[in-house]
């Protein structure tokens, strides 16, 4: 199907690639379908709403930037997302982009957990967590802005 996106006009997506967020995302409870679109050649992706063209988030794989990042997926979430094996799980975190880019932050307190086999996803709020909504990507000294 053809999808109109915030950043790239029209793209062709496979309906089987649509991620289903049963309860939407906090603040966007009515947005239940997204696609994760990798930005080629970068560690970033956009999480684009299927129904709202102008709604998209930048995301990344947190483990690339925060080597020690870890959390446990609650049993209730495992059930909700029908997660059976760890290898079914893909994690992205939402970025809040700042200028300059190396001031951008990642929301490690609310990772997006995706069951890639079932295409079920949820932004999980970690309860007892040492992580916050804003961790600078530069904390990891990994992002360098290209001139």
């Amino acid at each position: 199907m053809i999808l109109h996106t915030k950043f790239e006009e029209k793209i062709e997506i496979n309906e089987a690639d649509i991620l289903h967020f049963e309860h939407g995302l906090p603040g966007f409870e009515d947005e239940k379908q997204f696609v994760l679109l990798p930005m080629e050649g970068t560690p970033f992706s956009t999480l684009q709403s299927v129904s709202t063209k102008d709604l998209a988030f930048f995301t990344t794989n947190p483990f690339l930037f925060f080597k020690t990042y870890d959390f446990e997926i609650q049993e209730s979430v495992q059930e909700q997302l029908k997660i059976i094996e760890e290898s079914d799980v893909h994690v992205q975190v939402i970025l809040t982009i700042q200028e300059p880019l190396d001031k951008s932050t990642a929301n490690l307190q609310a990772p997006v957990v995706i069951n890639v086999k079932e295409n079920l996803a949820k932004q999980v709020v970690l309860t007892e967590s040492r992580y916050k909504t804003r961790h600078e990507l530069s904390e990891s000294k990994l992002v360098r802005q290209e001139g």
């Binding site: 915030k6 950043f7 995302l25 906090p26 603040g27 966007f28 930005m39 050649g41 970068t42 560690p43 970033f44 956009t46 709604l55 998209a56 988030f57 930048f58 690339l64 609650q74 049993e75 209730s76 059930e79 909700q80 939402i94 970025l95 809040t96 982009i97 200028e99 880019l101 929301n107 307190q109 609310a110 932004q123 709020v125 309860t127 909504t133 804003r134 990994l142 992002v143 360098r144 802005q145 290209e146």
Partner: protein, 77 residues
Amino acid sequence: MLVLTRKLQEAIKIGDDIELKILSVDGDQVKLGISAPKNIEIHRKEVFLAIQQENNEASATSLNVFQQLKKLKKNKI
């Protein structure tokens, strides 16, 4: 809003499955014990609000940023 007064160790029940118990009171801090089914999500409200707000801010990015990010090639990171 329904308002109920409870003493230490007293509880209230919400529906069949949820129970809130006052475990301790220390000055202005109240410790609550919550028993609920696993599929009921329980969050400190301020944490949930912070995440809503962060999502709102995260969604407000421009095309310009997209183009800048595209320039960050993997091998430079």
